[in-house]
């Protein structure tokens, strides 16, 4: 029988709206995470990842179901379960008026550390997150990436057996993001920590995960290793054509599916005004095809016949993004 670090069964969380109706944020999630592995919950914003973590970490009570951490029920033995885990929330849950060291010492004391032991652990964590030099500076003088590192450090102070990390790279620059991803891998490889990692970024899940669960609308729609998940898409490549602001008719998608060689599915992602500058994202046609490069001429012909101008073409090997798109018909960023 596997040595599960986390066993969650039938987790449900519903909220009551002001009008009396209920909304289900999580609709029955089962999770089994082995010791020493990185398990990613991958899904778009609002899929239910954070609510799932909040229930497993004991922040909110599940409406139904339970989770065991190292064999301790989070609903019946919350203190024993919480002693085994460190939590790294998506928010910078720190006191910005205080220094990095003061923050770490405060949370360390609440984890039951004191005296020399507390000082030693704080020093270790500061060294691990590479902030020893800045330990006496107030956090409100830190960059976003440095705050994120302290945020992670707090979750490691008491040497937990597992760590929850809820989108720990949100809002930081690529250099700091790289640093955090390397930190996560070090925690598994050097300290044998179990890590439950949530993200909406396919690249992060692909790079880090031993196991992935894809979450959408409060349910797990697929789970397994990356290889197992991409097999669901088959050996299909993904061909992405950008078509700018031009209107794409449903008939064109059907024609691509019928006429081009090896094509199994064609989807259209309409352009949208996205960023703060009002710049429009380009519309894209995504085509799943076996041996994608061979299908390429037929697809280009069909698009040209529809009098559409192709901005760029990209051919991608099967990945988690493709799995999500395949399963839901929507991109992860939706």
């Amino acid at each position: 029988m596997p040595d599960w670090m986390v066993e969650a069964t039938g987790l449900v969380k519903t909220y009551q709206r002001r009008d009396g109706s209920t909304v289900a944020a999580v609709q029955g999630i089962d999770l089994h995470i082995r010791r020493g592995e990185i398990f990613s919950l991958l899904g778009p914003n609002g899929a239910g990842k954070t609510t799932t973590i909040a229930m497993i970490s004991g922040l909110i009570a599940p409406t139904r179901g339970d989770a065991k951490i190292g064999g301790h029920s989070i609903t019946r033995e919350p203190l024993a379960a919480k002693r085994l885990m460190g939590v790294v929330p998506q928010e910078i849950a720190l006191y910005l008026e205080l220094s990095a060291r003061q923050n770490l010492e405060f949370f360390g004391r609440l984890y039951g550390l004191s005296g020399r032991e507390l000082g030693r652990r704080v020093d270790e964590v500061l060294d691990f997150i590479d902030l020893t030099e800045r330990q006496r500076d107030r956090l409100d003088t830190f960059s976003g990436g440095m705050k994120r590192r302290v945020n992670i450090g707090v979750g490691l102070l008491h040497r937990p057996q597992m760590v929850y990390m809820d989108e720990p790279t949100v809002g930081i620059d690529p250099q700091n993001r790289r640093r955090i991803l390397d930190t996560v891998k070090r925690l598994r490889d050097e300290y044998s920590l179990t890590i439950l990692y949530t993200t909406h970024l396919m690249e992060e899940a692909q790079e880090l995960s031993d196991q992935v669960a894809i979450v959408d609308q409060g349910r797990i729609i697929a789970r397994g290793s990356q290889g197992e998940l991409t097999q669901q898409v088959g050996e299909q490549d993904r061909l992405i054509f950008t078509v700018g602001q031009q209107k794409v008719e449903e008939a064109l998608l059907r024609r691509i599916e019928q006429s081009a060689e090896g094509v199994t599915r064609a989807l259209y992602d309409a352009p949208a005004v996205g960023d703060a500058d009002g710049a429009a994202t380009a519309g894209t046609i995504t085509v799943f095809a076996r041996r994608g490069r061979r299908a390429l001429p037929g697809i280009i012909l069909a698009i040209n016949d529809a009098s559409l101008e192709i901005g760029s073409v990209e051919v991608r090997e099967p990945d988690l993004e493709a799995v999500f798109l395949h399963l839901t018909g929507r991109a992860l960023r939706d």
Partner: protein, 428 residues
């Protein structure tokens, strides 16, 4: 318990790390205490005993009697005759005259040392030498002496002395009249002439009696035993507890936005994910709020001590009122935290509550000078119960027994607020 102290100490550390908080905790209360206390006469003046005088006659003779009592004991302070325009020093409601029933109640409550009622017709009776009774009310122990009664006795002796002299003068005149001859006619032309003569004798006798060389000097000791008589209200005796109570509300209720900010920045939720019971987290927050409130009281009362304000002789009673009031405001803050949704809402509500509950509770001026309707409304404010306790000790020589009713009300309110707060407190 150790974790409760850790959380409380940490919250205080965060509070003091923000230098803007020092302004509200230290500078503002000190400035306002000194300004408001100074505006109400400060606290360095001579202490005087308050005596209510209901003058139903309104004649110059009645005013002379009050003056005579004052001369007999210059430490007496007559209300409303010597009341300031705002009636602060007498603590009389501004919206109605002082009548006998109200004054009797003030004597009974200990708001004033004694009541003297000068009846209507007093002046006329003196002129016609008719007997008249002046009513005197006091709770003073007759076996240990009553210095107000002694002063009244002295004044009445003076008036009676003048009356007796006038009557003697009239009688001597009459004797001369009975022995009148054509060569030596009566000294009085008629009855009116006689009346004028006797009044002149009375006035002269009164003047001579006023100029008696032997007088007694009364001085009220600054430090008195438990049975201290009521003295006139001093500015700092009012402003220190008043501003102290108001700034405790500003400081403790002012933490409402910070509780909300903790939710928003997720530090509160992070505490929940630690191996701590929710009661420990809330206990730490409560202890921090309570400690801040007591620090605020210590700062304002410390200023009062530094400028020499007399806070009475029952420091334990003062401390008990501080503890009960701070606990009540702490509980109110926790109860309100269950309903607050945004930082702006928290800021507005805490400011509004402090600015309303302080004045209607008597933090800015004595509760008794407010109109009756406002006094009834003011009882809803915890400040009124705290101020009642403070005033009992500072002005009326009260001790633990006198502050217990107010403390009881504050603790009962605290219990209700805590039940609401603990049941409804949201961590996420």
């Amino acid at each position: 318990m150790r974790h409760i102290f850790t959380i409380a100490r940490h919250d205080l550390q965060v509070f003091f790390a923000d230098r803007a908080n020092w302004f509200g905790l230290v500078l503002m209360p000190i400035m306002l205490t000194l300004i408001v206390g100074g505006a109400f006469g400060g606290g360095s003046g001579e202490l005087r005993l308050r005596v209510d005088v209901v003058d139903q006659d309104g004649s110059p003779a009645a005013a002379d009697l009050v003056a005579a009592i004052g001369r007999a004991n210059p430490t007496l302070y007559f209300c409303p005759q010597q009341a300031t325009a705002d009636r602060f020093n007498c603590e009389i409601a501004v919206d109605k005259p002082l009548d006998v029933a109200t004054a009797q109640e003030r004597v009974r409550r200990g708001d004033t040392n004694a009541l003297i009622v000068i009846p209507a017709g007093y002046g006329a009776a003196l002129q016609t030498f008719q007997p008249l009774t002046i009513a005197y009310y006091s709770l003073a122990d007759v076996t240990t002496g009553d210095i107000v009664a002694a002063a009244l006795d002295a004044a009445i002796a003076q008036v009676n002395g003048a009356v007796v002299a006038a009557q003697v003068g009239g009688t001597v005149g009459d004797t001369f009249h009975r022995g009148a001859t054509a060569a030596n006619p009566s000294i009085f032309r008629d009855a009116a002439d006689r009346q004028a003569f006797t009044q002149q004798v009375a006035a002269r006798a009164d003047a001579l009696l006023q100029a008696q060389p032997l007088t007694v000097t009364y001085t009220i000791a600054q430090l008195r035993p438990q049975e201290r008589p009521l003295v006139t209200t001093q500015g700092f005796g009012q402003s220190v507890p008043g501003m102290g109570s108001m700034f405790v509300m500003f400081t403790v209720l002012g933490m409402l936005p910070i509780i909300n900010k903790e939710r928003k920045q997720w530090t509160l939720q992070r505490l929940v994910t630690l191996p701590l019971r929710p009661a420990v987290i809330l206990g730490g927050k409560v202890l921090a709020l309570f400690t801040l409130g007591m620090i605020q009281f210590a700062i304002v009362f410390g200023v009062g001590v530094a400028i020499g304000t007399d806070f009475g002789s029952a420091p334990a009673a003062i401390l008990l009122v501080m503890l009960a009031f701070t606990l009540c405001i702490t509980a109110l803050t926790i109860a309100l935290a269950t309903r607050i949704r945004s930082e702006d809402q928290a800021n507005g509500l805490s400011f509004l509550l402090a600015m309303v509950l302080a004045p209607i509770g008597g933090a800015w001026w004595p509760f008794e000078i407010m109109p009756e309707v406002m006094q009834m409304i003011g009882r809803l404010s915890p400040v009124s119960w705290a101020m009642e306790g403070f005033r009992q000790v500072i002005f009326f020589g009260g001790g633990l027994a006198e502050v217990l009713p107010g403390v009881g009300v504050l603790l009962a309110a605290a219990a209700v607020f805590f039940i609401i707060g603990v049941r409804g407190f949201r961590y996420e």
